[in-house]
């Protein structure tokens, strides 16, 4: 293998580029990014960068050494993958390569029929964050649709700016599928504790507008909430359209083996777009988290360079979220039916640590503002393999 194209220049793609070099690949590496920006880290977009307290350059994922060893093709879209001819068709030309890393992530899901309405935002890109920041002005009433991690983080940032914030959640308890009912309730309680109004079981019927600007939200029960700004945080759609005709198996993401390899040994997928089959359970998973993108890159690159699966992906299931000047941390693979045991504090406290128990084993750890104890339990109770140095 003499040349590799990485399609997608966010975390998964940038980490794949770094891993190619770290694992000794000395051929040509082309990193293709649709956005015009140097690859950047997304977590701060809903937090410090949105609040205006983090500089753009603090988001850079690649340093000068990295970029010196890469060909960066920014502001460039991948249009088509033609594996038989060994080429990627780009918006500004073609690339002939031996190996391909698919790291295209996805697009934020929108509310149907809201395109073009001023004051309505999603949050996935640098531009999204900058555009939203412009509108978080004193006195603005913010309605956030979706109380997942993104919605909660935006709510927290908007509250820190002193704004009036309402979060709408379709489920009875936000994040219940991720955290189970008890700890999801503890997270939901953070909103009220910090002055955010959380409305559960609330479905949006339509947005109210005056001219071409949003003025409110109508719920399915007919209730109307005034809003100067609406932020939609209801998930994402994997970016796979351009793979039509490539022969790759695509469903909700790019289908891969447990080694993140597609149906073609020289095409791998990483990050939000990778729908892999778990080596032990055989179930197909796709994760939309920073750590996942970061952990998948070395596995996919090793298998790409070897030409066959030498490593299986075993996710740590580590997720963190900064909300209301606190940090939530989750590791493992809890299910809503697991028993929750508090190791320190209670769900009502400003800091606590809990574990998820199933069949006598610890299958997850969750903590609020307790990084040290969380890390200890994560490493000891979950028996995550020690890093290889």
């Amino acid at each position: 293998m003499k040349s590799v194209a990485i399609i997608g220049a966010s975390l998964a793609g940038a980490r794949a580029a770094q891993e190619l070099r770290a694992q000794g690949f000395d051929g040509r590496v082309v990193l293709v990014g649709e956005e015009p920006h140097q690859p950047y880290d997304r977590p701060p977009l809903s937090k410090a960068f949105l609040a205006g307290t983090a500089e753009r350059e603090s988001l850079d994922l690649l340093d000068a050494d990295d970029t010196a060893s890469l060909e960066l093709r920014l502001g460039t879209r991948a249009e088509r993958l033609d594996p038989a001819a060994g080429r990627v068709v780009l918006s500004d030309g073609e690339l002939a390569v031996d190996g391909v890393v698919l790291a295209t992530g996805g697009r934020a899901r929108t509310l149907p029929g809201t395109e073009g309405i001023a004051g309505v935002h999603v949050l996935r890109t640098l531009e999204d964050s900058l555009a939203l920041r412009e509108e978080l002005v004193p006195g603005a009433r913010i309605v956030i649709v979706g109380a997942g991690f993104i919605g909660a983080e935006v709510a927290s940032t908007a509250r820190s700016l002193g704004l009036d914030v309402t979060v709408l959640e379709a489920l009875e308890t936000p994040l219940a599928r991720v955290l189970g009912p008890r700890l999801a309730q503890a997270c939901a309680a953070l909103h009220a504790r910090h002055g955010t109004t959380l409305r559960c079981g609330a479905a949006v019927e339509t947005l109210l507008t005056t001219g071409a600007r949003v003025t409110g939200v109508r719920l399915s029960g007919g209730e109307e909430l005034p809003a100067d700004v609406v932020v939609v945080g209801i998930g994402m759609v994997p970016a796979t359209d351009w793979l039509a005709g490539s022969g790759l198996d695509v469903g909700n993401g790019v289908h891969t083996s447990s080694g993140l390899v597609t149906g073609l040994p020289n095409v791998v997928a990483v990050g939000d777009v990778a729908a892999y089959r778990h080596a032990e359970t055989g179930a197909r998973h796709r994760h939309e988290h920073w750590t996942n993108a970061s952990e998948q890159a070395p596995v996919a690159v090793a298998n790409l360079l070897a030409g066959h699966v030498t490593r299986h992906y075993a996710p740590s299931g580590y997720v963190w979220s900064d909300q209301y000047s606190g940090t939530l941390q989750l590791a493992g693979h809890p299910e809503p039916g697991d028993e929750v045991v508090f190791v320190e504090g209670t769900a009502e406290d400003g800091a606590f640590v809990a574990t998820y128990q199933r069949d006598g084993a610890t299958v997850g750890v969750f903590a609020l503002n307790s990084a040290k104890q969380f890390t200890r339990l994560r490493r000891q109770a979950l028996r995550r393999p020690a890093p290889v140095v």
Binding site: T291, S294, T375, R378, A386, P387, V389
Partner: protein
């Protein structure tokens, strides 16, 4: 010189954080004491809350690994080293030299 803690407060496998404008983390790695910058060079996280594995600490936020002896990161996402400091023990008290050591990179 900054006082960190007493020897009894820092058993093997433990760490303490010296607060300040540039906080320092002091570790007891199997009986050897090490001091490094507490703030991860990758992103704002406290290394004193990390996981100690031999003479490496794993950042609690993104799992970057740092060698306590040199401050060098041994894996991504961190690429920049953290500074290291000399540690002294005198009459049961652990002290840290205020100025970072010059590491042979």
């Amino acid at each position: 010189m900054q006082r960190a803690c007493t020897v009894d407060e820092l058993p093997p496998g433990e760490s303490v954080r010296i607060a300040g404008a540039e906080p320092i983390a002091v570790f007891n790695a199997d009986g050897e004491l090490y001091a490094i910058d507490d703030t991860c060079s990758h992103q704002d996280a406290s290394l004193s809350e990390g996981w100690l594995e031999g003479c490496f600490v794993e950042c609690p936020l993104h799992a970057a690994l740092f060698d306590l002896r040199t401050g060098m990161p041994s894996c991504l996402p961190a690429k920049k080293p953290v500074r290291t400091y000399s540690v002294l023990v005198d009459e049961g008290v652990v002290y840290v030299q205020s100025d970072a050591r010059e590491n042979a990179a």
